[in-house]
Symmetry: C2
Subunit: 84 residues, 2 copies
Protein backbone atom coordinates (compact mmCIF):
# COMPACT_ATOMS: atom_id res chain seq x y z
CA UNK A 1 0.00 0.00 0.00
CA UNK A 2 1.07 3.59 -0.58
CA UNK A 3 1.48 5.81 2.46
CA UNK A 4 1.75 9.59 2.13
CA UNK A 5 4.71 10.86 4.13
CA UNK A 6 6.12 14.32 4.77
CA UNK A 7 9.77 14.78 5.71
CA UNK A 8 10.80 18.04 7.35
CA UNK A 9 14.48 18.98 7.26
CA UNK A 10 15.48 21.67 9.75
CA UNK A 11 18.78 23.20 10.75
CA UNK A 12 20.10 21.93 14.06
CA UNK A 13 19.96 24.26 17.05
CA UNK A 14 22.97 26.55 17.07
CA UNK A 15 23.53 26.43 13.31
CA UNK A 16 23.28 29.93 11.84
CA UNK A 17 20.19 30.49 9.69
CA UNK A 18 20.63 33.65 7.58
CA UNK A 19 17.39 33.05 5.66
CA UNK A 20 15.34 32.84 8.86
CA UNK A 21 17.13 35.86 10.32
CA UNK A 22 16.44 37.91 7.19
CA UNK A 23 12.74 37.02 7.25
CA UNK A 24 12.52 37.90 10.95
CA UNK A 25 14.14 41.29 10.35
CA UNK A 26 11.80 42.09 7.44
CA UNK A 27 8.55 41.27 9.28
CA UNK A 28 8.05 44.43 11.40
CA UNK A 29 8.39 46.70 8.35
CA UNK A 30 5.61 44.67 6.69
CA UNK A 31 3.30 45.04 9.67
CA UNK A 32 3.92 41.71 11.40
CA UNK A 33 5.11 42.18 14.97
CA UNK A 34 5.57 39.61 17.70
CA UNK A 35 7.20 36.98 15.50
CA UNK A 36 10.41 35.48 16.87
CA UNK A 37 12.82 32.61 16.32
CA UNK A 38 12.12 32.20 12.59
CA UNK A 39 13.95 29.18 11.18
CA UNK A 40 13.86 28.17 7.52
CA UNK A 41 13.89 24.54 6.47
CA UNK A 42 12.77 22.19 3.73
CA UNK A 43 9.84 19.86 3.35
CA UNK A 44 9.45 16.87 1.07
CA UNK A 45 6.21 15.05 0.40
CA UNK A 46 6.17 11.60 -1.13
CA UNK A 47 4.22 8.37 -1.34
CA UNK A 48 5.96 5.28 -0.05
CA UNK A 49 4.98 1.72 -0.85
CA UNK A 50 5.33 -0.34 2.35
CA UNK A 51 3.58 -3.05 4.34
CA UNK A 52 2.41 -0.63 7.02
CA UNK A 53 2.77 2.97 8.09
CA UNK A 54 5.66 2.43 10.49
CA UNK A 55 7.65 0.67 7.74
CA UNK A 56 6.90 3.62 5.43
CA UNK A 57 8.12 6.11 8.06
CA UNK A 58 11.25 4.04 8.66
CA UNK A 59 12.05 4.04 4.94
CA UNK A 60 11.37 7.79 4.78
CA UNK A 61 13.69 8.47 7.72
CA UNK A 62 16.46 6.39 6.14
CA UNK A 63 16.25 8.13 2.78
CA UNK A 64 15.91 11.54 4.41
CA UNK A 65 19.13 11.03 6.37
CA UNK A 66 20.96 9.62 3.37
CA UNK A 67 19.67 11.82 0.56
CA UNK A 68 17.60 14.78 1.73
CA UNK A 69 19.64 16.22 4.56
CA UNK A 70 23.15 16.88 5.77
CA UNK A 71 23.18 15.18 9.20
CA UNK A 72 26.12 17.32 10.34
CA UNK A 73 23.98 20.46 10.37
CA UNK A 74 20.41 19.27 9.78
CA UNK A 75 17.73 17.14 11.42
CA UNK A 76 15.26 15.14 9.34
CA UNK A 77 11.90 14.08 10.78
CA UNK A 78 9.37 11.95 8.91
CA UNK A 79 5.69 11.85 9.78
CA UNK A 80 2.53 10.55 8.22
CA UNK A 81 0.85 13.01 5.85
CA UNK A 82 -2.56 11.37 6.10
CA UNK A 83 -5.07 14.17 6.40
CA UNK A 84 -2.63 17.01 5.71
CA UNK B 1 1.73 34.17 24.89
CA UNK B 2 4.11 32.69 22.33
CA UNK B 3 2.78 29.92 20.10
CA UNK B 4 5.15 27.74 18.06
CA UNK B 5 3.94 27.53 14.47
CA UNK B 6 5.21 25.71 11.41
CA UNK B 7 4.37 26.97 7.92
CA UNK B 8 4.74 24.55 5.01
CA UNK B 9 5.03 26.01 1.53
CA UNK B 10 4.38 23.52 -1.28
CA UNK B 11 4.12 23.85 -5.02
CA UNK B 12 0.55 23.75 -6.31
CA UNK B 13 -0.60 20.62 -8.12
CA UNK B 14 0.39 20.78 -11.76
CA UNK B 15 3.38 23.06 -11.22
CA UNK B 16 6.57 21.33 -12.41
CA UNK B 17 8.92 20.34 -9.59
CA UNK B 18 12.37 19.56 -11.01
CA UNK B 19 13.89 19.12 -7.54
CA UNK B 20 11.33 16.50 -6.55
CA UNK B 21 11.64 14.76 -9.92
CA UNK B 22 15.43 14.59 -9.60
CA UNK B 23 15.19 13.10 -6.10
CA UNK B 24 12.64 10.54 -7.30
CA UNK B 25 14.89 9.51 -10.20
CA UNK B 26 17.93 9.13 -7.91
CA UNK B 27 16.23 6.94 -5.29
CA UNK B 28 16.29 3.50 -7.00
CA UNK B 29 20.03 3.72 -7.66
CA UNK B 30 20.51 4.36 -3.93
CA UNK B 31 18.47 1.32 -2.94
CA UNK B 32 15.14 3.01 -2.22
CA UNK B 33 12.34 1.56 -4.33
CA UNK B 34 8.62 2.15 -4.10
CA UNK B 35 8.83 5.90 -3.58
CA UNK B 36 6.59 7.99 -5.82
CA UNK B 37 5.24 11.51 -6.24
CA UNK B 38 8.16 13.26 -4.52
CA UNK B 39 7.48 16.99 -4.16
CA UNK B 40 9.96 19.45 -2.66
CA UNK B 41 8.82 22.40 -0.58
CA UNK B 42 9.89 24.72 2.22
CA UNK B 43 9.14 24.82 5.90
CA UNK B 44 9.39 27.74 8.30
CA UNK B 45 9.23 27.47 12.07
CA UNK B 46 8.57 30.50 14.23
CA UNK B 47 7.13 31.66 17.52
CA UNK B 48 4.18 34.02 17.31
CA UNK B 49 2.96 36.24 20.11
CA UNK B 50 -0.87 36.19 20.07
CA UNK B 51 -3.86 36.00 22.38
CA UNK B 52 -4.63 32.40 21.45
CA UNK B 53 -3.56 29.67 19.06
CA UNK B 54 -6.09 30.44 16.35
CA UNK B 55 -4.96 34.09 16.27
CA UNK B 56 -1.36 32.88 15.98
CA UNK B 57 -2.25 30.60 13.06
CA UNK B 58 -4.17 33.39 11.37
CA UNK B 59 -1.16 35.71 11.63
CA UNK B 60 1.12 32.94 10.35
CA UNK B 61 -1.14 32.30 7.36
CA UNK B 62 -1.23 36.01 6.51
CA UNK B 63 2.53 36.44 6.65
CA UNK B 64 3.10 33.16 4.80
CA UNK B 65 0.93 34.30 1.91
CA UNK B 66 2.46 37.78 1.86
CA UNK B 67 6.12 37.02 2.52
CA UNK B 68 6.99 33.32 2.44
CA UNK B 69 5.27 32.07 -0.69
CA UNK B 70 4.33 32.98 -4.22
CA UNK B 71 0.56 32.39 -4.25
CA UNK B 72 0.56 32.03 -8.04
CA UNK B 73 2.45 28.75 -7.88
CA UNK B 74 2.58 27.85 -4.17
CA UNK B 75 0.29 26.94 -1.29
CA UNK B 76 1.11 27.94 2.28
CA UNK B 77 -0.38 26.06 5.24
CA UNK B 78 0.20 27.01 8.87
CA UNK B 79 -0.25 24.58 11.73
CA UNK B 80 0.58 24.46 15.40
CA UNK B 81 4.05 23.10 16.15
CA UNK B 82 3.22 22.17 19.73
CA UNK B 83 4.74 18.77 20.35
CA UNK B 84 6.67 18.58 17.08
Amino acid sequence: MNYPVVVEVTLRDGIADPEGATIEKALPALGFTGVARVRAGKSFRMEIDAVDESAALEKATALAERLLSNPVIENAVARSAVGS
